[in-house]
Point group: C2
Chain length 609, copies 2
């Protein structure tokens, strides 16, 4: 989509590349020469809904960060020289104590991080950054840090939105991006590949796409894992946080893709086994995933891959009359046993409104046509996606989705909308950077919900968000299953300070947990969501995480400072089950009207007569 | 299939029901009035291959156990009266210290168990048997046993083949069969159901099949889990051992069906969460499954269920020319991304020979026809199964299997053979009892293998088995995945003593583990396979199991005596990695020729030119 100048006032959007030594180069997403600007209808929506005026876009509300990173002496590394010497002996020239290098691994990508960088708040500088190229270096580093009680952090792709990578206690940060990115084994018979954990998403996918040339394989393959952060995510990050890609409804989440993992922990190396299924006690792969660097450092990972068959892809998009119809249809698609589509994305009324602005549909004749047919603005819900797999499989899923959508009152919109979405799917973070210059924050939260509780979670979370003045909250359902789905919330609000943003986020997280959803479907916990975790999991249950921590890392040197809540003080915890009626009553959340207790079934059957 | 009298000598097969108070009623499988006798061609095969003669079938080689169970005073319960009084206070009349009741929960269903019963070796009598009907009773029992250090065992369906249920240290056995079998919640929106762990397979399936009448549901459902032991298995047993059903290639294993679990442990109740996916630290469902009763007692479990659509089922059977062609075809079926068949069962040459005898095909014109077409006896491999799911999905899988089979040189045999297999699928254990009267043991072992290591595991295990005189070992592949499959071994051999059988088994287990397979795909570990577990998993990795044990049950009162190896002495361990070259080298077993180390890829590509 080419950018079209506005009809009226147009803000001075910044389209100047930041210098590679600037703050801006750190907090801005990805490619310094790529920019994404809001279309006029989106700009107008922000003015309508966020109580901002053209006036507010005359000048920048935030520090633009074009200046060079330079730290005063108060931020000098505090590490003893003997430790630095040790790391030199292991890493040769692959280390740095420079200001820029240390700052570039300080934060991830939540607005809280970006705001702090714009505020020049340097909460969490590591004392040294190391660039491993071999697992053996990491093994030595972990052992040394454990012995000398030096905090150790890992920076994978840096796209964490949970403060997962933040070295809050200083010490060492392993920056995996530079050199820890090799393919170690390729096994076409088993369709598995072993890679170093720092390999980036796009490089990983390229190896698989080019398997014929690179490995003499019989065909091309795909990884099947495409999170929105794809371009700046790392394979290791996918795994340790239990991430999901946008195509996960067909390909599965990271946990479904992992075959085997190797970790360097203070207790020694841990290698999980590589069989498709085992009945040999608790599952070690599932114990290590989700550790988020608190048990040790993931060094190598073996993943399954899939055949690359884009020729079998069928794109679809539909408009439903309302969220309830759409939810019912989505559930039927998941429970019909006709196979699963790859991308499966259903927007609620508020997101649909925004999507139509974002993806150009708002200017087309489609808009009045939809209104005329009874698909009304702020009621209608957009559903899009595509199917993959073998030809007949892909077609069968596409055909069943069509049948179910029509039966639930949807109107087909052709594949155009889906293509628009695909076009922008990985570059929305650039748009976020653009509007943040004017003090408008965009961020996301997500959670996993069972079908029978979905309406409630959707309602409660939106209610809390709308109770804040000047907030837009859009929701989509994605990553779907026969038993439920992920709800993904995107919120826009004018906030200029990191602390205010943090409070805003807390309210929404409270709502998510109290409405009976899982705290996270695929972003992980990190340090930001940690205060809610024990309450979400249960105290005795959470004790198992602490136990594992004590086993692997008794001195708390691995990603310390609150990650997954392991070293949080009691008063830092935010959510407990006390006073919360009926939490998981009968394994379920209180609103599960759909649940029939078996001993009340006769009574229930009576009501049906 | 009606039974046809033999042309020559016919053994005096026993077809008399055993009295309900007899030893035979305990060691014989299932229905006392049902009998399964070998067809003549199978009888002839045993004579050919096991070095037994008609002579050996003139009289019984083993104790038939028709006598009444009566224990001498040396086997009297040893439990202090105060404990008995406590259990009475919790269970009312639902307890027993009777000889028969205690003996009926002593062993499971491995030949080692059956032989010991025929030998009247009473190794493991509990002091009291309790019949819980409510979770609350189990919670109290667990707490009491932990406090007073009384060993606590659980007897679910009793079909364990790993000595998993055996109360080797006496104490309490919870017999779940009688009263712990209720449905607690039925949730049609989420397609989940919560049941007490003692519910039997057939009762569970009946509830789901009758969901319309029982729960006012919109349609009928199926559990999708049908192990060979289905009729005498319990839902809880499926879960704690990580079991699989014969239809798992489509429906998934127990671990894929579990939504949530509730355990009574000495540390307190553990409730796992119920979301389809979560990124909230290590996965608790996957930690609890596989505990096999050593962490606590599974009381309630929520499972997902599926739509019951037998009208969409397509049966198939094919004959391949040899195991290698068949394996290649099977792998292609799993990796094509066309969907998965429900039953997927591929027999090797030796099993095919036996199957054709068992399923009547041997007497038909098919046999000479196959020979003529080049599908030779002891080379050809039988492949059968059926597809399920939505109509188009089921058809697409069926159609792709057809295409792939033909491409790999298979000949279609119509659905007849599959129907014969279905007819006998749950009653083969009766046949085992019949021939055991004459001293012939039939038992099974199974393991999980990646595709690239499958030929090796198949070869090595058969080699070891054939090295024993008078052994038949048949193999099939079932429970298949894109990355590998389960190999299932059935062996027949004349053995009259439990100790000799145990030694025989050990040799095969050694071969399984040394050839690089997982120790178990779905039977679990119990007490019988425990000596191999730590070596199979790794020492630091296995330490995690011990850690979990210490957390839940620090006094080792839950299923003590070696279950999953937790309280094994060092000298009881059988397999260590010492001296075993290349074990899991680069995550892989040494024989993985298919693996290309990336740094040798140029050299490899050269060889392709």
């Amino acid at each position: 989509m080419a950018y079209k100048p506005y009809s009226g006032f147009e803000p001075k959007w910044i389209t100047k590349a930041a210098a590679p030594d600037s703050y801006r180069s750190i907090f801005r997403w990805g490619d310094p020469d790529f920019f994404k600007l809001p279309k006029e209808s989106l700009y107008n929506m922000m003015k309508d809904r966020l109580n901002v005026k053209d006036e507010d876009f005359r000048d920048y509300a935030m520090d633009l960060g074009f200046d060079k990173v330079e730290l005063g002496p108060e931020y000098a590394p505090k590490m003893a020289q003997e430790h630095v010497d040790f790391f030199k002996s292991v890493y040769g020239d692959d280390w740095s104590q420079g200001d820029y290098d240390r700052m570039s691994v300080m934060y991830g990508q939540t607005c809280y991080d970006l705001l702090r960088l714009r505020e020049k708040k340097f909460d969490s500088l590591p004392d040294i950054v190391l660039y491993p190229s071999e697992s053996e270096q990491i093994v030595k580093t972990v052992a040394y840090c454990a012995e000398h009680k030096i905090p150790l952090y890992v920076y994978g792709g840096g796209s964490s939105v949970t403060r997962g990578v933040e070295p809050v206690k200083g010490g060492v940060s392993l920056d995996m991006r530079r050199k820890f990115n090799k393919v170690l084994y390729f096994n076409e018979v088993d369709q598995t590949i072993t890679v170093q954990a720092g390999l980036s998403g796009p490089d990983y996918e390229k190896h698989l796409n080019n398997a014929v040339e690179e490995f003499g394989a019989k065909r091309a393959y795909t990884c099947g894992h495409f999170p929105q952060s794809f371009e700046y995510s790392s394979v290791g990050g996918w795994v340790v946080t239990r991430g999901s890609g946008q195509n996960s409804t067909y390909y599965g989440c990271a946990k479904d893709l992992v075959v085997s993992q190797k970790y360097a922990t203070p207790r020694g190396e841990i290698v999980t086994s590589h069989y498709p299924r085992e009945a040999t006690g608790p599952n070690l792969n599932e114990i290590m995933m989700g550790g988020e660097g608190t048990f040790g450092v993931l060094t190598e990972v073996t993943l399954r891959f899939y055949r690359y068959m884009p020729e079998n892809r069928h794109r679809f998009s539909y408009m439903f009359k309302n969220w309830n119809d759409a939810m019912e249809a989505a559930r039927e698609m998941m429970q019909r046993e006709c196979g699963f589509s790859s991308v499966f994305r259903l927007s609620d009324e508020e997101e649909t409104n925004m999507m139509l602005r974002l993806y150009n549909v708002d200017d087309t004749p489609l808009r009045p046509m939809l209104e005329k047919l009874g698909y009304r603005d702020m009621e209608r819900c957009l559903f899009l996606g595509f199917t993959e797999g073998e030809k007949g499989y892909s077609w069968n899923v596409y055909y069943n989705i069509l049948k179910i959508a029509l039966k639930h009152g949807a109107i087909p919109l052709t594949g155009y909308v889906c293509k628009s979405w695909e076009h922008g799917r990985f570059n929305d973070p650039y748009l976020r950077d653009t509007i943040m210059d004017f003090g408008i924050c965009v961020d996301t939260l997500e959670c996993c919900v069972n079908w029978s509780n979905m309406e409630k979670v959707h309602r409660e979370v939106r209610k809390v968000c709308h109770a804040h003045p000047n907030s837009v909250i859009t929701t989509h359902m994605s990553h779907c299953y026969p038993q439920g789905a992920n709800l993904y919330f995107i919120f826009l609000t004018p906030i200029h300070e990191s602390d205010a943003f943090h409070e805003y986020l807390q309210d929404i997280l409270d709502a998510i947990v109290r409405s009976g959803a899982a705290l996270s479907h695929h972003h992980g916990i990190g340090k930001m969501f940690a205060p809610w975790l024990e309450g979400n999991i249960g105290e005795t249950e959470y004790g198992i995480f602490k136990l594992l921590k004590e086993y692997f890392d008794p001195d708390y040197t691995m990603n310390p400072g609150g990650t997954i809540g392991l070293d949080l003080a009691e008063d830092e915890k935010r959510f407990t089950r006390d006073g919360y009626d009926g939490y998981r009553d009968g394994y379920n959340t209180p609103a599960w009207d759909a649940v029939i207790a078996y001993d009340e079934k006769d009574e229930f059957l009576e009501t049906l007569k």
